[in-house]
């Protein structure tokens, strides 16, 4: 504990406070504006919802969250263990392939699976044609299990990514230590490495949780009513934005509770290593039946999560002959990439600064955590918060300049800021996870040698968390490309993205025409994933 005293943690210099506030407050502002909705209570709407659908949607949301988080947690850990800790044929290439579902937006996988497995889709129609009387109506894919399957297949990479990084860097020394004590490889895996990877698993599962409860696109395709259904019903159906905002707050409170719990669990643990990040791992070789099983599981997940949806999209693209998509495909791709690049730079800058501040001054943790809550709010609702804040800013500018014009509203900067607020969580989790693997002793050593704080950061911490930054950048880049509701609402004229096009076409039931822009999103997302794969091979 002497080292901690030496670093004088807990003393909060005003500069750090200002920076934290500079990032934290704008990030929280849309949330605060939405909280203002509580000043216009709508007891009639709350009463109606409570009497009719609220019970059902709460139950659906909770069960969906539990199944999806459990599924992603289990699958992510299993896959990470298989490809990072074992040796079997195809393991090397699978390390990268299993990341590819990151490029699939949940709503795209949802509409593909709905198209394939619905009661009128090709699979069920085929079986029905074999024995129509016996088969009858068949099964409805749009149940809890169908939605969960789709979400697990698209969201497991969050857990897989963070967990694999943990296994790769943590596993070795600890496995060795455990083995010298006589444990078998598998046992040491479960008893030692897994518990030590808990914070990364938890970080990944937290992202999955927030994505699941904020999701609207995928559950809408399946007509599966979750809490977001109630939120949009209040806004679009019952014409009350206030009630919708109040309901969103319930989601936010739930997430805050989970985050606090996770933070409590994490603070009791210490997870440092002292070595370099990349080491040659000691892999557990699998043979015979076990190798086949491992291969089957990994390839199966890849096929279901990526190969099958992509093949279907290619097929549908061909069917629609790539019909006219106005404005030109190149424009949409360009807009999407440009927004993603700026958004990622902006978000990661904020994420790194916040991660550094949190590490140095743990008392800032609540503010930092609050700033990352944008991820848990349904996209359109957060966008409304941003629109209201931007309106306020422009009104203020108008008052000062005496001239009413739109400065922030309708600008690409507002959209980029929106991405930052929305995806700060993803970048932050990745960077913080990397930070936690670094012992404070390194910083102490540098301080002892006389290095100033800033120099210490760039010379010591930064190279060590570089992989965390890269991971975070990848996650955020792909997220921005897939993002639809905030982009739809905040974008300037002529800034349609691929996701916007997919929405326009799927909301009209034009699956085949939507396939081409959907393919564009996936392909553009594959590039950063491949970059990450290349980076890890070194």
């Amino acid at each position: 504990m002497a080292g901690i005293r030496f670093l004088k943690r807990g003393n909060l210099p005003p500069a750090a406070m200002a920076v934290a506030a500079g990032i934290g407050i704008p990030a929280v502002l849309p949330l605060l504006v939405l909280a203002g909705a509580f000043f216009s209570p709508r007891p009639d709407i709350w009463q109606h919802l409570t009497e009719t659908i609220l019970g059902d949607v709460l139950w659906n949301t909770v069960t969906l969250a539990v199944v999806v988080c459990g599924g992603c947690g289990f699958l992510g850990v299993l896959l990470a263990f298989l490809v990072e800790g074992c040796r079997f044929p195809g393991q090397k290439i699978l390390r990268g392939l299993l990341l590819l579902p990151l490029a699939m937006p949940t709503y795209v996988t949802a509409f593909v699976y709905n198209g394939i497995f619905s009661v009128s889709g090709p699979v069920q129609s085929f079986f029905r044609s074999l024995a129509p009387e016996v088969y009858g109506k068949g099964f409805d894919f749009r149940s809890l299990w169908g939605v969960s399957l789709v979400l697990v297949l698209t969201l497991y990479p969050y857990v897989y990514l963070l967990c694999a990084a943990a296994f790769r860097t943590q596993g070795n020394r600890l496995m060795e230590a455990a083995r010298t004590l006589g444990e078998s490889r598998l046992q040491s895996g479960f008893r030692v490495v897994l518990p030590l990877a808990r914070p990364w698993i938890a970080a990944g599962v937290l992202l999955v949780l927030m994505e699941t409860i904020a999701d609207f696109g995928a559950v809408a395709v399946f007509n599966f009513d979750t809490f977001t259904t109630a939120i949009y019903k209040a806004w679009f159906g019952l014409f009350s934005l206030e009630a919708a905002a109040q309901l969103s707050f319930v989601l936010v409170i739930a997430v805050i509770l989970v985050v606090v719990l996770e933070g409590r669990m994490r603070s009791r643990m210490r997870f440092f290593r002292t070595g370099a990040e990349e080491e040659i791992p000691h892999l557990l070789p699998l043979s015979g039946g076990r190798a086949v099983l491992a291969s089957a599981v990994c390839w199966g997940v890849f096929v279901l999560g990526f190969a099958l949806p992509v093949a279907t999209l290619v097929y549908w693209s061909l069917l629609s002959h790539g019909e006219a998509v106005y404005g030109g495909y190149a424009t949409y791709v360009g807009n999407t990439l440009l927004l993603a690049v700026f958004g990622t730079g902006f978000t990661l800058s904020g994420a790194v600064v916040l991660a550094v501040l949190k590490r140095q001054y743990p008392s800032l943790t609540p503010l930092v955590r609050l700033a990352t809550l944008g991820y848990a709010i349904p996209g359109t609702v957060l966008a409304v918060g941003m629109v209201l804040v931007a309106g306020g800013v422009d009104a203020g500018v108008g008052l000062l300049s005496g001239n009413q014009t739109l400065v922030v509203q309708g600008s690409a900067a507002l959209l980029v800021a929106g991405y930052g607020i929305r995806f700060l969580a993803a970048g932050f989790q990745a960077v913080t996870s990397a930070f936690e693997r670094i012992s404070p002793r390194l910083g102490e050593a540098a301080a002892l040698l006389g290095a100033g704080r800033l120099r210490r950061f760039f010379a010591v911490d930064f190279p060590l968390i570089r992989s965390g930054i890269v991971t975070g950048a990848l996650l955020v880049f792909v997220e921005i490309m897939k993002e639809m509701p905030a982009t739809l609402m905040l974008r300037p004229f002529g800034w349609d993205t691929l996701a916007v096009k997919v929405f326009e076409l799927t909301s009209e039931g034009e699956w085949e025409r939507a396939a081409l822009p959907a393919m564009g999103i996936v392909l553009a997302g594959v590039l950063p994933v491949m970059l990450l794969m290349r980076g890890r091979k070194k």
Binding site: S120, N223, Y326, V384, N403, Q404, A413
Partner: protein, 335 residues
């Protein structure tokens, strides 16, 4: 290296802040909830004819409304276009649209398809009608929307989700016609007859009928047209209900001039053009809809579905009773 990166981000950010956008005099700005592929050709034709540039932005109706409201007097939107009378009514009630007097619009658009205060005008019409499988259902057994609640349709009815505004408008007009209590009984009857949980869209509803999951459903005519175009051999037929009791439920897509339009005359000019023959034909044909202008004939493909008695009660009721319809459907368990 890191500083260069940060600098790049900051510079990029400043570059993308929208400085007061000025619009040329010969330009009109449209915020549209009607999808791009359905409006772009129409606007292109307008520009070709008049030389006036149309700048447009698409999005969800409620989100666009929120954006216009937040933008206030600085909003660049001249025209707000959307789908469904409920959305148009709500836009008018929110104060986003301004009333206009126009002889052209009043002459070309029937009274029941526009706002009584001149705030919005329907531009194309779609019917929400009954679709059935001709092998398993005899047309003679069909009569009205309300009759689909009869037990004879048990396990045979398929419907689209109640969350879609088209169904909300249908039920809203039923409330206007029958009152809440009777409508609730009818909707409960529908729910009891469902062969499968409600589908996310009309196309899936029709595919369910074609594949044998259900026998009868309610869809918008243009979805029927689109599906038939893609799969002409599909066994589906249209039926026009309520011919003796008011007529088939219809709805519109349309628009109005925004309250703080920077170019209100240009906005009105665009709307008036949209109500005239050439534009009406193009606007409607793009989506297999019926022109709102009664003097313009629908496309041959659409006309082939047959003529029918339309419900001519004012569509303002679709908006006025929408919230009631949503609550009613929740109470009836219609998902």
């Amino acid at each position: 290296m890191v500083f260069r990166f940060f600098r790049m981000v900051l510079i990029g950010l400043f570059m993308t802040v929208g400085i007061a956008q000025s619009y040329a005099a010969d330009e009109v700005v449209v915020y549209s909830a009607r999808k791009e592929h359905l409006i772009q050709p129409v606007f292109a034709a307008y520009t070709a004819e008049t030389g006036i540039k149309v700048t447009y932005l698409t999005g969800k109706a409620a989100a666009l409304l929120q954006r216009i409201k937040a933008e206030g007097n600085a909003s660049p939107a001249d025209v707000f276009l959307t789908v469904d009378a409920g959305n148009l009514w709500h836009a008018a009630e929110s104060g986003v649209l301004q009333p206009v007097r126009s002889k052209v619009l009043e002459k070309n658009i029937p009274a029941h398809l526009r706002d009584d205060k001149g705030r919005w005008f329907g531009l194309s019409v779609r019917a929400r009608t009954i679709v059935y499988h001709p092998d398993r259902v005899k047309a003679g057994t069909l009569s009205t929307y309300e009759a689909l609640a009869d037990p004879v349709w048990k396990d045979r009815l398929v419907l689209r989700t109640s969350k879609k505004v088209y169904n909300q408008s249908l039920v809203a007009m039923m409330i206007a016609a029958h009152g809440e209590k009777e409508t609730e009984t009818i909707v409960k009857g529908w729910v009891g007859n469902l062969a499968a949980p409600p589908f996310g869209n009309d196309t899936k509803t029709m595919e369910a009928i074609a594949s044998g999951v259900g026998d009868v459903g309610i869809v918008n005519t243009y979805y029927f047209g689109r599906l038939k175009r893609k799969q002409p051999d599909l066994k589906l037929a249209l039926f026009w209900p309520n011919q003796e009791t008011g007529g088939v439920h219809v709805n519109v897509s349309g628009g109005g001039v925004t309250r703080h339009a920077p170019h209100p005359e240009a906005a009105l000019q665009l709307l008036e053009w949209l109500a005239t023959e050439k534009a009406q034909r193009l606007f409607a044909d793009l989506n297999m809809e019926y022109p709102a202008n009664p003097d313009v004939a629908p496309a041959a493909e659409v006309a082939a579905w047959g003529s029918f008695q339309k419900d001519t009660r004012p569509l303002i009721d679709a908006g006025r009773y929408q919230a009631d319809a949503v609550r009613l459907m929740d109470r009836a368990g219609y998902k």
